[in-house]
Symmetry: C2
C-alpha cells in the first residue's frame, strides 16, 4: 500500500474507532439512567493521546471503561524487534473496553479493536471475550454466534481461527484454567494469509466492532434482573482475582501500554472494583459449575 | 566447597529455615488468641514439597502465610541460563512470609530467606521489607535499625548495599512508585565479593532471619490498638492493589515459583485478602502523606 493510502486508512480507522466508542457508550447508557460515563481526555507526552471514558458505582456497571486512544512515537528497540513491522516508529489507534457489572449473574466482558503501524507495515488486531461468574449456555451460544456471523461475512476461516486463538490467549497457564468462555481474538492481521488487502481487513474490523453491542447487550438484558446476595458477590470477587492475574501477568494490551509509556490509569482501568484473594478456595454447588464450564466448546455450533 | 560439605550445608540451612518458620509463627500467635495458623503440607510432583502455614480472618492478621519449602528437580533451560549456576538441576529451600494485618495502621510485611543450589554453585538470598498504609517514621527507623544491626554483625558493606537493593527491587516502574519503606534485599550471595565463604554467608542468613520478629513485632504492638474505620479500610484496600501489581508483575519469588512448577496456592497466598481498584484515585489528608513517605531515606541513620 502506498504511504498516502496507508495514512488515509489510518485516519479512517481512527475515526471509526472513536465513533465506535461513542456508540458503545450510548448503548450502555441506554440500559439504565445511573449509567453515566465520565470523560478523561489525556495527552501522551511522546505523541498522541486518548479519551478515557469510565464509570464507577453504576447500578448496572460497578466499574467499566470504554477507551479510545491514538498514539504515535518511538518503541523501545527490544520491544520493536518482537513486532512484525520494521524500525521503531509506531502509530496505534483503537478502542478498548472492559465492563464489570454489579450483578454477578451478568458476565464481565472485554473487547478491543485496534490498528497498529510500525514502519511501512500495518495490521489490525482485536476481539471480544466473555467472563461469566455463573455461566448460562444460552448466553455463551448467543455471544459466539453473533461474533461468528461477523467473521463469516468476511472469511470462512476467520471464526474457527479467531475462536481458537481466543481460547489459547485468554488462558492462565499457572492455573491451567481458561479466563472465561472465550469469543474471538485476532492479531497481526494484514489479510496476506487470506488473500485480502488491508482495506478488506479494515472492513472486517468494522463488522467485528459493530458486533460487540449486539453480542453483549441481550445477555445484560436477560440477567440484570436476577436476584443476588452476599454469596454471589463473594464468588464474583474471588473470580475477579483471576481477571487481575490474567491482566497483570499475560495481557498483551497491558504490556503494550506499559512498554509504550501509555497512561497508567487508562491501562489499568480494566482491573475489577473489588477483589478477594482467598487461600485455596474450593467452590461447591452452583459456583463449582463455572469451573466445569471453562473448557473450550464449539458454542456457535451447539 | 566439596560436594559433601555443600550437601551438609544444604541440610543445615533447610533445618534452620524450618525452625525459623516455627519460631515466627509462635511469635505471631503469641500476639492474640485468635491468631492460629493452619498447616497445609504438600508435595511437589517433580521433587520435594513444603509446609504452607496460613491464617485468614484473625483479629490481628486478616490474611497471612508463613511458608517453608524444600524443592529440587530440573529447571526449564531458558530459565536456568539466567541463573548464576550451571546446568538445569536445582535445589532450593527457604521460608517466605507475607502478613496482611486487619488494622490499616499496622503495616504489611514481607520476608524471605532462602538457599539455592544450581549444579555445583550455591547462594543465599532474602530480605525483609515494610509496606505501611499510614507511615510512622518511628516504625521505619526501628525496622531499618534492627536489620542494619543484623547486617553490621557480618559485614559493614551489607546494610548499605542490601538497603539500596531493596529500594531498587520493591519499586513499581510503571507507577514510578516505591512499594513501601524498604528494608533489606540480597540475592546470589556467595560471599565471594566480601571475602567470605558460604558458611559465613549462612551465618549471616541466620542472623537476618532471626532479626525478622524483633524488627516487626514492636511495630505491631505499637499500632494494633489504634482505632480505624471505613476510611482507613478503604485506603488500605486501594494500596493493597499496588501490592498485587508488584507481586504479579515483578516479584522474582513469584516468577521462580511459577517457573519451577511450585504450588500455586502457596505462591499466591501473598496476595491481600480484599483489594479495591479505583480509577485514578487521588488521596488527600493523611492518606496523601504515604505517597510523600515513599521516597527512599536513610532511616537507620536518622
Amino acid at each position: 500500500m502506498k504511504d498516502e493510502d496507508l495514512t488515509g486508512l489510518q485516519r479512517r480507522a481512527a475515526a471509526f474507532f472513536q465513533d465506535l466508542q461513542r456508540r458503545i457508550i450510548a448503548g450502555l447508557e441506554a440500559f439504565d439512567p445511573t449509567t453515566r460515563f465520565r470523560l478523561d481526555r489525556w495527552e501522551r507526552p511522546g505523541g498522541g493521546g486518548g479519551d478515557t471514558c469510565v464509570i464507577e458505582g453504576g447500578a448496572l456497571l460497578e466499574k467499566g471503561g470504554v477507551n479510545f486512544s491514538e498514539v504515535h512515537g518511538e518503541l523501545p528497540a527490544d520491544f520493536a524487534a518482537k513486532l512484525p513491522g520494521t524500525g521503531t516508529g509506531f502509530w496505534a489507534a483503537g478502542v478498548s473496553l472492559v465492563l464489570h457489572p454489579q450483578n454477578p449473574y451478568v458476565p464481565t466482558v472485554h473487547a478491543n479493536f485496534r490498528m497498529i503501524r510500525q514502519g511501512d507495515k500495518a495490521w489490525f488486531g482485536g476481539g471480544a471475550d466473555l467472563t461469566p461468574y455463573y455461566p448460562f449456555e444460552e448466553d455463551a451460544r448467543h455471544f459466539h454466534r453473533t461474533l461468528k456471523a461477523a467473521c463469516d461475512a468476511h472469511h470462512p476461516d476467520f471464526y474457527p481461527r479467531f475462536k481458537a486463538q481466543c481460547d489459547d490467549y485468554f488462558y492462565l497457564p499457572h492455573r491451567k484454567e481458561a479466563r472465561g468462555l472465550g469469543g474471538i481474538f485476532y492479531d497481526h492481521l494484514t489479510g496476506d494469509a487470506h488473500g485480502m488487502d488491508l482495506e478488506q481487513v479494515f472492513a472486517f474490523a468494522q463488522t467485528a466492532g459493530n458486533a460487540f453491542l449486539p453480542a453483549y447487550a441481550p445477555i445484560v438484558q436477560r440477567r440484570q434482573g436476577l436476584d443476588f446476595g452476599e454469596r454471589e458477590r463473594g464468588w464474583q470477587a474471588i473470580r475477579r482475582g483471576r481477571y487481575v492475574e490474567f491482566n497483570l501477568m499475560y495481557d498483551k494490551g497491558t504490556l503494550f501500554g506499559l512498554r509504550t509509556s501509555g497512561r497508567i490509569e487508562s491501562i489499568l482501568m480494566s482491573l475489577p472494583p473489588i477483589v478477594r484473594y482467598v487461600y485455596d478456595h474450593q467452590p461447591d454447588g452452583p459456583e463449582a459449575k463455572l469451573l466445569e464450564a471453562l473448557v473450550p466448546r464449539d458454542w456457535a455450533a451447539e
